[in-house]
């Protein structure tokens, strides 16, 4: 007999505090003791989790975790120290490895093939929860506890952490990709704060002849994947249906967004955008040339350091609206996961809880970069963002947050569409003069082929 109860999504939770309904006629003395014992153990664990006392069993163990090298180097310094202090407090020997985020997928493939590696792992941008969930431990107990404690999870967090309603990863934070614009340049053409993509296009059209074009990557880099999807979703494009199983891209909204991008490129950009990497737009803004960019706030911070004059006139807005008033910002999710072959599952789970409990400190250390996934952590004023007049606009970012595959989850098929850069390539083709219908035929065909493979 096991102590399991159904949750409202039809799954089961081993540590659900609610008493299981047990038919008294079927319970014997031993059965009663088992049920009662399990109930007491679960209640104790939950009490311990609530009080954040590390279980004694992890003392004297070691925990190896793998993370990426954060865009804000100071955050990594803070994180390493944070992990070290937690290790000292709990008696766990902690080792944190940082590698560039693009190398993570290859590393995980190797760890999985070897059946050995880090005890606690991390997915960033490319969310591999759907790929590896059969080999990851069920973290529903941790997710439920955190959700209960912090007012629930954002809707988008399910896409990052769940497969089939079960939490196989715990969302840590997401990176928001807002609009950064030059207030002085916009004012010079009689414009105020941009509210819509049309406003951005108008500004670029007027400012390009004055030597201040705009730019979004038409290349094979992360930002190209985020930015064009943000435009698409604001134009009402749905990449898949909510189940994530069927593509829904082939509609007039997608054609409209391609048409808009072509106009935006012709009127407001220069060919350099075809060669840009993730940092090119940062430099473009900091150089004083760019009138606006669509990028993470690293561009904001780097401009602060490299060009204070330009920085003084650089402002930030969460996103601009599409023709029907829709606003979606496509962020970069970061999640924790634990291999089934992890040698220290209890310590790994404990650490995930600990970092979630210290999200405020993490957000401060990341200079407002790390946007939380838990609703209560959006209480204003938010750490760092709340204190910065320009960045305080991002405190409502949770309302417009979406990820690739939207409105469906980040499935392995959506992941393949992302990593093969089909969406940026569609925009590139149209910007370079290809016929929209031909481009749709090619792009949708490629995407259909990928989804068919994953279904088969």
């Amino acid at each position: 007999m096991s102590f399991q109860v159904s949750d409202n999504e039809g799954g089961t939770r081993m540590t659900d505090p609610r008493p299981a309904y047990v038919d008294p006629r079927t319970v014997g003395r031993r059965g009663f003791l088992k049920v009662a014992g399990a109930g007491v153990a679960s209640a104790s664990l939950l009490t311990m989790l609530d009080a954040r006392q590390a279980p004694a069993q992890i003392k004297g163990t070691s925990l190896r975790m793998l993370k990426w090298s954060h865009y804000v180097p100071a955050y990594d310094v803070w994180f390493d120290d944070f992990a070290k202090k937690w290790g000292e407090k709990t008696g766990v020997k902690v080792r944190v490895d940082h590698i560039p985020h693009l190398e993570l997928p290859a590393r995980y493939a190797a760890e999985f093939a070897a059946g050995a590696g880090h005890d606690l792992i991390y997915f960033v941008g490319q969310i591999l929860t759907g790929q590896y969930y059969r080999n990851l431990i069920d973290l529903s107990d941790v997710a439920d506890n955190l959700g209960k404690k912090y007012g629930g999870w954002l809707e988008s967090s399910k896409s990052a952490g769940q497969v089939g309603g079960t939490w196989f990863a715990i969302p840590d934070f997401f990176i928001s990709i807002p609009v950064l614009y030059r207030k002085d340049l916009f004012a010079s053409v009689g414009m105020g704060e941009p509210k819509t993509w049309d406003d951005l296009r108008n500004a670029a059209r007027q400012l390009k002849p004055k030597g201040h074009p705009t730019g979004m990557q038409f290349s094979h880099c992360n930002d190209a994947n985020h930015n064009w999807r943000a435009l698409m979703y604001c134009f009402g494009v749905k990449e898949t249906d909510p189940s994530g199983q069927n593509i829904a891209l082939d509609g007039k909204e997608m054609r409209e967004s391609l048409r808009f991008a072509k106009a935006l490129y012709d009127e407001g950009m220069t060919p350099e955008v075809f060669s840009w990497d993730d940092a090119s737009d940062n430099r473009f803004l900091a150089s004083g040339v760019g009138s606006w960019i669509h990028d993470a706030i690293s561009a904001f911070h780097s401009t602060r350091i490299t060009n204070p004059k330009v920085f003084a006139d650089t402002f930030c807005i969460p996103e601009v609206a599409g023709p029907a008033g829709l606003k979606w910002n496509v962020g970069e999710p970061n999640v924790w996961a634990i291999w089934k072959f992890s040698k220290n599952i209890p310590a790994a789970k404990e650490f995930i809880q600990h970092i979630a409990d210290n999200q405020k400190e993490a957000m401060e250390a990341s200079l407002g970069y790390n946007m939380p996934f838990l609703k209560e952590q959006y209480k204003k004023p938010m750490p760092y963002l709340g204190k910065d007049a320009k960045l305080s606009t991002l405190q409502d970012q949770e309302k417009i947050n979406a990820f690739f595959g939207h409105p469906g989850p980040m499935t392995p098929a959506a992941q393949e569409v992302l990593t093969t850069f089909i969406i940026p390539d569609m925009f590139t083709r149209v910007a370079r003069g290809a016929d929209i219908e031909d481009t749709m035929k090619w792009g949708v065909g490629e995407i259909r082929r990928i989804y068919a493979k994953h279904k088969g």
Binding site: P105, A106, Y108, A109, F112, Q126, L128, Q131, Y132, Y133, R134, N135, G211, P213, F218, S219, H220, C221, A224, T270, P271, E272, V273, F274, S275, W276, D277, S280, R283, F284, S287, V289, P412, Q415, E416, L418, T419, T420, F421, P424, D425, T428, R429, R432, W442, E446, R449, K453, G456
Partner: protein, 304 residues
């Protein structure tokens, strides 16, 4: 006495001894080359993914999927252009450099040592250096050309976007491969050239040959084995070179620099479709095999 068993005959013993001596080499090659190759074949005919250890046999389905992908053909074309183009440039530059380094001049040893730097630098470091030099806004090459008034200023229509214009982007990644590889070609050639006895060259000179005649009719035939081995290595390395394209353009924009190794990596590892990734990478095999057979057969003929 009874009939002598076959394995005790001198011939059998000789064979046995020979094969025993050969066995470690066969085992070594089988483990290092045969097993990974067989594993690639297995993956390419399965629906293996990075997260699913239980793979189904799908026959030639993954090869069919690659052939249905329009980007695949672009990648094959780019791979051939990249390999052949870079090979020719490395051959020309390497030969020129080798002859220059053969001449006596002050500091020749230092120059020879410095030449290997591109080849010995960690590829990530050197490619990032080139990425900066090809930057769309701050390219030192463009700024130099602009100062020399060979191109306009930043923002003008003739300002080259090295990694953004399709033809230029492929040329740029090829150029970095050449920059990295031609010192190796030069060193291989230099080793060959120094092994040619000077009296043969002198005799050819006395016979009134020109430099090109000596090179074509005397030097090349003599150093042919070295040239073939060098070419074979270079072809293999260039054809399977992932790092330069991955770091500079990741195959973009719009597959302008997509080559088979980047397509295989992005499909097999980043997207997790191991089976399809393996199938794409195995298309390198029929490209390489004829080149290798041709080179090795020519080499063998010349040895007799």
């Amino acid at each position: 006495m009874g009939v002598q068993t076959w394995w005790r005959t001198p011939t059998a013993r000789r064979y046995l001894f020979g094969y025993t001596l050969l066995a470690p080499a066969v085992l070594y090659v089988s483990l290092l080359v045969g097993v990974p190759f067989a594993f690639s074949l297995y993956l390419s005919m399965s629906d293996a993914s990075v997260g699913n250890p239980v793979a189904r046999f799908v026959g030639l389905e993954n090869f069919k999927a690659a052939l249905e992908n329009a980007t695949f053909y672009t990648a094959v074309r780019n791979t051939l252009v990249f390999t052949v183009g870079a090979g020719i440039l490395k051959g020309l530059l390497g030969t020129t450099l080798a002859f220059l380094l053969l001449q006596p001049f002050k500091g020749r040893k230092v120059v020879r040592a410095l030449l290997v730097i591109p080849f010995t630098l960690p590829i990530a470091v050197s490619v990032l250096g080139w990425k900066w030099m090809f930057d769309s806004q701050f390219s030192v090459i463009n700024w130099a050309l602009s100062r020399l008034q060979l191109i306009g200023a930043y923002g003008s229509p003739d300002w080259p976007v090295w990694l953004g214009q399709p033809g230029l982007a492929l040329f740029s990644v090829m150029f970095v491969n050449v920059w990295r590889g031609f010192p190796f070609s030069a060193i291989v050639l230099l080793a060959g050239l120094t092994s040619v006895p000077p009296e043969i060259i002198d005799a050819a000179k006395v016979d009134g040959t020109t430099f090109m005649q000596r090179f074509r009719l005397v030097i090349v035939p003599m150093i042919a084995p070295i040239l073939f081995i060098g070419s074979a290595f270079d072809t293999v390395f260039t054809l399977s070179d992932l790092s330069i394209v991955y770091l500079l353009t990741n195959g973009g924009p719009d597959a302008a620099t997509e080559i088979l190794p980047t397509l295989a990596y992005n499909t097999g590892i980043r997207a997790g479709a191991l089976g399809r990734g393996a199938a794409i990478s195995l298309f390198l095999f029929p490209l390489l095999l004829p080149a290798m057979i041709l080179l090795l057969r020519t080499l063998r003929r010349r040895q007799y």
